[in-house]
Symmetry: C2
């Protein structure tokens, strides 16, 4: 089963918008057994859209299109699809009435160009989009399915989840497929590959192992394909047990969740609270933690101590420590940890200090050095890291390793609890 | 002049890596007069790489390829290019020696599979990459240029900036092109389009205006193409003057810099300091500000007051205010601002409180409501916003509008100074 994702819109081609839609769609359709053959971005140009459709329609099973469904004159996807199918736009009074009512409810003037948003090709199945004005569309041609969705990410996600994916699952006969996830942190991809090499060597033909690495976290996915789901589950049992034995505490979860969500679950299980003291990461750890809905249950807050005076006054790092060991030191990280625990009165804390580059406060070898302290009132630890990427990437690594080190500590608390 | 960007790598197709390389490359090559015809992501598959090269080579002038140049067996771009050109890999002893020395300097064992990183096709010009082990490659075929770069973003950026772009500029006869940027904040794209409609209607054929919108910020780019750069500069003078007259204080810069960098420039000009108090944004404003190198000159720090107790204890928001007006209120935002100014002793502050959704502390109409206060000890202001997107996007809007409101205030201070 092969799919292509086509993103339509000048804003993607000119680089204003990063194509996060395509990567999100991939993560949704790959696990059900669809290979992504190609991801293509093209501009709002009818000839190019038509050529691209013709190029792919006989080669893939599913064509997923995002973008170009708005009410402005640039948005030509709908009209072009009509040209492609030789179909016509028809007016849907019930959609028109619903849109008008929604505008009135929000006190927004309903201009007549919104009438376009109630016009759809006569050969499509309309996919209801309650999150916006442009509805999704579903077409079938020979053995290929074409689904069109708006480019606005949260509208696209709603349509994919509630309409397109269920229809794809119904439309095609998928082989049985079972995925098992192992989320690891703190272990490099090459080290994992080394450890898992003997297991990989004896995997049966119908089971594959994929490495999906991001900073400090590697997602491992075992995929079994066949005819009988129960059989696949059985086939996987021995292998997943071996994965657990080999990777041990390297695994933080067996479902695909980010590390910050796992830490939230750990803190909830411990009925404990967290705060962070950040220098080099400038609040990004807190931002990651607070992107998780419900994080207010366990997350209290952060002091970003970018300037020395904030380290001294709000985190009570001593002048002697800063002078003797410098702000980028094990000693400063530990005192920042003490400071945040007492300032916020939390059970656990993270403290991070380092030099992200490109410039340095003195010696150039300092760039990329990061000290991460994690702990509670009774158990504190600090680790030195060295990241040799650019400023932005060094910051991301520092964030993710701080979460990794906290999760190791929380795991120990959970074992004891 | 047309270019295509080809990203090679399973990690992009399966969604593990978002293709930020392609969007960055677009922002670099479009302004010099190159249209991006298509952005394509394909897997590490020789047949597919060859088919894609054949598909584009006679249709575009420039093919930019990223990814697949590493030392592992997945990385087949180099070999496939050899197949394409019917060329052979040759060993470069000077590259080998340099790589070996670099490994030894960093105390990393030099394994023999790194020997591959000294092998390059005999028909390419090697593009020096001091940031990694894979060198870039430059090929010419008929009238088309093919440049290959590693997929690691900071290595690719270095190669594009220092090697590929200068070579492209030298290789092709570009028409003269002049770009003028107007960075605006706080004005919606449709409002801008309305205001600029009369000006757009009378633009001469050789001058175009592009709208590049992101949350709270719209980048406007005027592009003039012709034969004589001086003439184009002259042609643009009257138009840029009209843009300034129409947009007035909506413009924050006439070079393409992010809002957080502009605010840094304003603060440096005022010799002033800044701190933020963040609830809904969870430290993301601070993170944005501290991504700018040199931000330690003006940025002191942040208190993320996610929990009510932090608002009370560290930001000194009164219990009465929190009880009477709730944490998501104008009154709370203003007291948070007072609190951060006195806790950090800065000249300026930003305070943000709101409900990002999806859940709410009580009434559902609260979701998306954000109060942003900005000010100094003597001049404070607060504004209510409503963002009706999802959690992540609401947070991004809140961040960017807080920066917008601060820049308006700082502009007033700069006028007075």
């Amino acid at each position: 089963m092969k799919a292509v994702i086509i993103s339509i819109g000048d804003e993607i081609l000119n680089g204003t918008t990063v194509n996060t839609n395509a990567s999100w769609i991939s993560t949704q359709i790959q696990p059900i057994g669809i290979d992504i053959y190609e991801v293509v971005s093209i501009s709002d140009n009818a000839a190019h859209i038509l050529a691209t459709l013709n190029h792919f329609v006989s080669n893939v099973d599913i064509i997923l299109i995002t973008g170009g469904l708005g009410p402005t004159k640039d948005d030509i996807t709908k009209k072009t699809i009509c040209t492609y199918f030789n179909s016509e736009l028809v007016f849907h009074p019930e959609i028109y009435a619903r849109l008008k009512a929604a505008f009135e409810k929000r006190n927004i003037p309903f201009t007549e160009n919104n009438r376009d948003q109630a016009m759809y090709p006569d050969n499509c199945t309309i996919l209801d989009n309650p999150l916006g004005t442009a509805q999704g569309m579903w077409f079938e041609k020979d053995n290929t399915v074409i689904a069109c969705m708006p480019g606005v990410p949260f509208e696209m996600k709603g349509l994919m989840t509630n309409q397109v994916l269920p229809k794809i699952l119904k439309r095609f006969n998928f082989p049985a497929i079972v995925n098992k996830y192992f989320m690891t942190s703190g272990i490099s991809e090459s080290f994992l590959a080394n450890k898992l090499e003997p297991l990989e060597a004896i995997l049966p033909e119908h089971i594959t192992l994929a490495y999906l690495p991001t900073p400090a976290v590697v997602k491992l996915r075992l995929t079994a394909r066949g005819n009988d789901e129960n059989q696949l589950e059985q086939d996987l049992t021995a292998i997943t047990n071996q994965m657990r034995a080999i990777l041990g505490a390297g695994i933080y979860a067996e479902e695909p969740i980010p590390l910050e969500q796992h830490i939230g679950n750990q803190l909830k299980a411990l009925n404990a609270t967290l705060a962070t003291a950040e220098s080099i990461t400038g609040g990004k750890v807190a931002h990651k933690i607070t992107l998780i809905p419900g994080s207010s249950d366990y997350f209290r807050g952060t002091i970003v101590a970018y300037h020395r005076s904030v380290k001294e006054q709000l985190l009570k790092v001593s002048t002697t420590t800063l002078d003797k060991y410098t702000p980028v030191s094990e000693e400063t990280a530990m005192e920042m940890l003490d400071g945040i625990l007492s300032a916020m009165g939390t059970d656990f804390g993270i403290a991070i200090t380092g030099n992200a580059g490109p410039t340095t406060d003195g010696k150039a070898e300092d760039v990329g050095t990061v000290f991460i302290a994690v702990g509670s009132k009774t158990e504190k630890r600090v680790k030195k890291h060295f990241f040799n990427k650019n400023r932005e990437v060094n910051i991301e690594y520092a964030c993710m390793f701080s979460l990794h080190e906290l999760r190791i500590l929380l795991t120990e608390y959970l074992v004891k609890a």
